[in-house]
């Protein structure tokens, strides 16, 4: 394992711990948010996006590049129909199951093994998208 992977791994630990702490590993909590009975996940999204925003907008002004080499690149996405149609399809799946890609891994970590079903069908969905819609 090279040193970059070590930092990716420790960042993943924090990400997974935070997801589980914030309830994302429990589909019941995600669904209670989407059913508007517990709006806490908006706070989780806001806090995580805010902390990330501070980092990715301020750090490149202080450091010339990442500490382990390379360069800081912006994450770029172009708005088109696929962005919105894809997000809508994702929304339907999220509302049906309470699962999303990151929280599925956190679910495995807390022993929530039924989500293996969802991970398998997520991989299938990603395959069908890449196979037939590109």
């Amino acid at each position: 394992m090279n040193i970059r992977h070590l930092f990716v791994f420790t960042g993943g630990l924090l990400f997974g711990f935070g997801l589980a702490y914030g309830g994302m590993a429990q589909q019941e909590i995600v669904l209670s948010f989407l059913q508007l009975t517990d709006l806490g996940l908006l706070l989780l999204l806001g806090a995580s996006a805010f902390v990330t925003a501070l980092t990715i907008n301020l750090v490149p002004k202080i450091l010339k590049g990442p500490l382990l080499g390379g360069e800081f690149k912006k994450r770029t996405r172009t708005l088109n129909k696929r962005t919105i149609i894809g997000a809508a399809i994702f929304g339907v799946g999220w509302g049906i199951s309470g699962q999303c890609p990151g929280s599925a891994w956190a679910s495995l970590g807390v022993g929530n093994l039924p989500v293996l079903i969802g991970i398998a069908t997520m991989a299938l969905g990603a395959y069908i998208m890449g196979r037939f819609f590109t």
């Binding site: 990400f15 589909q27 806090a47 996006a49 708005l79 809508a88 069908t121 998208m129 890449g130």
Partner: protein, 153 residues
């Protein structure tokens, strides 16, 4: 509005943000989630879409990242979690059908709650903002309809 309190949500969100920031500061990588599926499919599919350079280059660290997320959640479950290990009661067919649409939709949209929601909003992307508004609105509508149809849990 917040029956479980607000502390776990805010602390959890801050930890996620620190995790993403930690990876960005050290490596310059954007630690997002749904691309995992496209990159891992490059191991099994020879289709040109999955053999793109960006997927071949990133599959190693994305696998490492996913393992980190799983272990991080496991550490939470065996240390400070009030619930310990957890097993969802949401029915298997909901996990299966929902999962398929999540996998398809996030890859079509090139982002999920993590990519558009955290990294996208953090980089002040209007594209991601529209995506987030869309999946939140559709997700809420879908969950309310399923609930109204009497599907519990």
């Amino acid at each position: 509005m917040f029956p479980l309190g607000i502390v776990p949500y805010i602390v959890g969100g801050i930890l996620i943000g620190i995790g993403v920031g930690h990876i960005y500061i050290t490596t310059g990588l954007h630690a997002t989630q749904s691309s995992f599926f496209s990159t891992i499919l490059s191991y099994v599919s020879k289709r040109p879409y999955f053999q793109q350079k960006q997927y071949l280059e990133s599959r190693g660290w994305r696998l490492t990242f996913a393992i980190g997320v799983i272990l991080g959640a496991f550490i939470y479950a065996i240390t400070i979690s009030p619930d310990g290990l957890f097993w969802t009661t949401v029915q298997w067919w909901r996990l299966a059908i929902g999962g398929f649409l999540v996998g398809f939709g996030t890859r079509l949209s090139k982002g999920c709650t993590s990519g558009h929601g955290i990294s996208g909003l953090a980089s002040l992307s209007t594209t991601s903002l529209y995506a987030v508004i869309t999946f939140l609105a559709v997700g809420i509508a879908t969950a309310l309809i399923i609930q109204a149809l009497g599907v519990i849990p």
